[in-house]
Symmetry: C2
């Protein structure tokens, strides 16, 4: 089984590396990090580079496609090489997945029309204008499309996907291998749980494009 | 503030990238991935390369040192350039930290003598022979030393550290930014929670060196 994780300039590293750490442990699986051009791709902070070992053209038919999000998502919304690759890859994939604002790229490429999907909480509303149906859940499954909420949600998504592919026992073994027994020292990981003032100030400071419905 | 994350051949990627994703969001902070020699360092699966932007000699005095774990840890246990760098960096650091079996490297360098520390559950016992006091907790703080359990525990560790450096509000904002509201689809993330048979079979298959106490 081949899993391709798309990289592009200013992606968010944990969006990609969280699911990778789970999915790379599936027996008989190869994970390939791929970008328009192979080489080092810098994450959104500028402080981390991941290697794209392949060009998109080298991996046209992955079994699983994974699209991370990040501030660079906004430069991946226009039709072009990445969208063409996504559409062709999706035509043959078993699963097409995203983390965070990666779902906006999938939607912009026309792959989530009429589908239930999620995204980072600050970007969730943007899915509607792209033809998808926004759902405020951590992992949303609609047919072969699995979308995860912001950044760290990719780990939960990958475990869910692992269970569907390889069964619960395998997923549990991988969960134990990465000791995923989360104990966050604060309970502020979603807009429903975080202090209301914090949510409001982050919404106000967000550089997300304002959806038409708000304007 | 400068944070240096040590890379070495066959590290586990999420050990490094989980905490990075949290700590890089601290205001006024630079995270530097560093290795004995700069360039691409491959993770344990061989399927992912991260760029070490600096040689260890370029970053002698970080405010925070972070050592990830991974199968390659076993080649980092002998004294040499990495241990010398760790001892000199620790002499001036505010915090010296590890994820997973990274604590074994810190201990082998002589930095955890008499200290309470944790590690991946399959490696926890090995800390004793290296002079540390193994503690089966997800994040263990002893003075300026913070050690985290296996792989994904680095995210919790980094949030804990963020709270201590920048206060609870900042840590909560970062938690909300990465939407860290974990909802694992299984409850098998620690040996205490996972099915007993799974824990036993993973212990049996583990390639960890057998501690003297067991032999």
């Amino acid at each position: 089984m081949q899993i391709v994780i798309l990289l592009y300039d200013r992606f968010t590293a944990l969006d990609a590396v969280g699911p990778y750490e789970v999915l790379a442990r599936l027996p008989g699986t190869t994970v390939v990090f791929a970008a328009e051009r192979p080489g080092v791709v810098r994450a959104d902070t500028g402080m981390l580079g991941l290697t794209a070992d392949a060009a998109l053209g080298d991996v046209p038919h992955p079994d699983i496609v994974l699209v991370p999000g990040g501030p660079g998502q906004q430069e991946q919304m226009a039709d072009g090489v990445v969208h063409e690759w996504l559409r062709a890859a999706d035509a043959a994939s078993s699963w097409t997945t995203s983390v965070c604002t990666g779902s906006l790229i999938l939607a912009a490429a026309g792959l989530l029309a009429g589908r239930r999907a999620t995204s980072h909480w600050l970007a969730l509303d943007e899915l509607s204008a792209l033809g998808a149906k926004p759902v405020s859940e951590r992992v949303v499954i609609d047919g072969k499309f699995i979308t995860a909420a912001g950044v760290s949600a990719g780990i939960d998504m990958a475990l869910e996907l692992t269970g569907r592919i390889g069964g619960a026992e395998l997923a549990q073994a991988i969960q134990l291998g990465i000791e995923y027994d989360p104990q966050p020292p604060y309970s502020a990981g979603s807009p429903a749980k975080a202090p209301r003032d914090l949510v409001a100030s982050m919404r106000a400071r967000s550089r997300r494009p304002r959806p038409a419905a708000d304007g």
